[in-house]
């Protein structure tokens, strides 16, 4: 991880009255990497993005883009940022091209020359002249993404960019995000689509109630691609006792049996122990932890495993 830091937040805090939406958040995004920002609804993702863009004033802490404090030098800092917010909003009575032109005029520099190439890159060349209000949700998202690239930004912030896109469109966006990182830009991606995050992100930050509860590469977050067994068995309590007797520490009850974290080579041993005790499993399936599993585990309300940032 050697690229220049394009985004850094230092102890970012935001309180709305008695509610703490973001609580001491430290994060970094470097050039050439895609960082996923994950969290359940209300975790503070959009508030964090709002503070990075100077839309929301932090209660404490700071956000820096390319070393410039957003609160102190907002316009300079945002010159290096392209951001697409969760709800893509443009003037409904203007065409997609005119909306982009408006943003390009605001951006200055060579942004005007990028309007048509970006429409083409995002697959909107044919509909560039149509009014924004006639666009489908997917087209609106594409236009939003196009607008982020007008200023040739060092940092691209995408909040739920695949909303409303069909599978082919989602795939295109994933490829585009990787291309952006390949162009030496830093990308901060907030998404609910965990498989999307899993496929495109170099690092993931998981926040819950405004606090960073986990961070690292996908492999680190999923415990090195850690594996477990899904065991379908009747008497879960007795089965768990027997497996604990074998030294298995992580056991979780499921509606159909148990999820048991153990070396994949121990499948036969577990089966034999259960069968010896008269508990016949109807299935013992080796599984690999996915980001979704870890995310659910980390963010479920009463999860005891929600530990401080790693």
């Amino acid at each position: 991880m050697t690229g220049e830091v394009v985004l850094r937040t230092n102890g970012l805090v935001k309180r709305f009255g008695s509610i703490t939406a973001v609580n001491g958040l430290d994060l970094e995004v470097r050039r050439g990497e895609v960082v996923g920002l994950l969290g359940p609804n209300g975790a503070g993702k959009s508030t964090t993005i709002g503070m990075v863009l100077g839309l929301i004033a932090p209660t404490a802490g700071s956000a820096e883009v390319l070393g410039r404090d957003v609160r102190v030098r907002r316009e300079e800092a945002l010159a290096g940022v392209g951001a697409m917010l969760e709800v893509t909003s443009f003037y409904p009575y203007l065409s997609g091209r005119d909306n982009l032109t408006g943003v390009a005029l605001l951006r200055g520099g060579g942004a005007l020359a990028r309007v048509d190439p970006l429409l083409a890159r995002l697959g909107l060349a044919q509909r560039g002249g149509s009014k924004f209000r006639t666009y489908s949700l997917g087209m609106r998202q594409r236009l939003g993404i196009a607008s982020t690239l007008l200023s040739d930004p060092a940092l691209v912030i995408l909040d739920e960019p695949a909303n409303g896109l069909d599978p082919a469109g989602q795939r295109e966006i994933r490829e585009l995000i990787r291309e952006l990182a390949g162009e030496n830009r830093g990308v901060l991606l907030a998404s609910h689509l965990l498989h999307e995050v899993e496929q495109v992100c170099d690092r993931v930050l998981v926040i819950k109630k405004g606090k960073l509860i986990a961070s690292g590469t996908i492999a680190e977050i999923t415990r090195g691609g850690g594996s477990y067994f899904e065991i379908v068995v009747g008497d879960q309590t007795r089965a768990a006792q027997i497996l604990r007797g074998l030294g298995v520490k992580e056991i979780r009850e499921t509606p159909t049996g148990l999820d048991v974290v153990a070396d994949p080579a121990r499948g036969a041993e577990l089966n034999r122990a259960l069968a010896s005790a008269g508990l016949y499993a109807s299935a013992i399936v080796p599984r690999a932890s996915s980001l979704e599993d870890v995310f659910m585990e980390l963010t479920e309300p009463e999860s005891p495993s929600a530990s401080p940032a790693s």
Binding site: G54, L55, I56, R74, L78, S89, F90, S147, S151
Partner: protein
């Protein structure tokens, strides 16, 4: 909306000039034919009304018409011009793309000022056009024609009195993040304050000391300064000094814009605006 409003003021100017002529002319004909009895003072008042159509009365009648309709239309326009940015979420988009809040407000205020100027110019030209067209149809003598200097003075005053109401509508739209609230508040103040002020002064002239610091009485004072009014006002003698009234209106503009600026600067922009 801007083009529609310009079209509406042109259309309305022609329509009202025509309707006044058609209505008054029909009454005059009916009186002549004996279909209806003549009014107590003869037909002089009807003929006087008909004279309002003449080009030499555009400064009083035509510009007054544009001013009255324009105030309402520009309140609607000012509130919509700002409020829709919050409703559509485009204010948030602009900020996310690096626009400054100060720049946003300055651009909005400047474009409203420009639009008010264009509106009063187009409206006044429409009134002049309607006056000549209907006078020709009605066979009314154009006499000395339009007094350009007088019409210009009246138009400048009309444009000036739009501004505080537009600034008020803008401020309310910024505070409420809603075009509807800006329109409603602007129209309520425009109509209700004038009625309340007139009623209070009619009850007791001493109340003028208070209500003369309001918008409507200051607007009346500016409008009537140096010109004969199209509509008589029994409380006109208690109106404030026109210069003071003009200053009061300017101060209101500044206050409304400062309030809008302060709110816009300090607000967290979440969903929409």
């Amino acid at each position: 909306m801007p083009w529609i409003m310009l079209g509406l003021i042109v259309l309305t100017a022609f329509l009202l000039y025509f309707l006044i002529w058609a209505s008054v002319n029909a009454q005059l004909q009916a009186v002549k034919n004996g279909t209806i009895p003549a009014p107590a003072g003869g037909t002089a008042q009807l003929e006087q009304t008909l004279r309002m159509i003449a080009p030499d009365r555009v400064a009083q009648f035509g510009v007054g018409l544009v001013s009255g309709l324009g105030s309402v239309m520009l309140i609607v326009f000012a509130a919509s011009h700002v409020g829709t940015e919050f409703g559509w979420g485009t204010f948030r988009t602009l900020l996310a793309h690096g626009a400054s809040r100060t720049g946003f407000l300055v651009a909005k205020a400047a474009s409203l000022l420009l639009y008010a100027f264009v509106f009063i110019v187009v409206g006044t030209l429409a009134a002049i056009g309607a006056s000549y067209a209907v006078s020709a149809v009605a066979g009314i003598s154009v006499g000395s024609g339009v007094d350009v200097a007088e019409v210009t003075r009246a138009a400048v005053k009309a444009g000036y009195i739009f501004l505080p109401y537009m600034a008020l509508a803008l401020a309310i739209a910024v505070w409420s993040k809603s075009a509807g609230a800006g329109i409603a508040a602007g129209l309520v103040v425009y109509f209700a304050e004038g009625i309340v002020a007139t009623l209070l002064v009619s009850l007791n002239k001493d109340y003028a000391e208070i209500v003369n610091w309001g918008l409507s009485r200051s607007v009346s004072a500016v409008t009537r300064a140096g010109s004969s009014a199209a509509v008589p006002d029994p409380t006109a003698s208690t109106l404030p000094d026109p210069t003071r009234a003009a200053i009061v209106l300017a101060v209101y503009c500044v206050i409304f814009l400062v309030l809008a600026y302060w709110r816009l600067r300090s607000r967290d922009v979440t969903v929409g605006g």
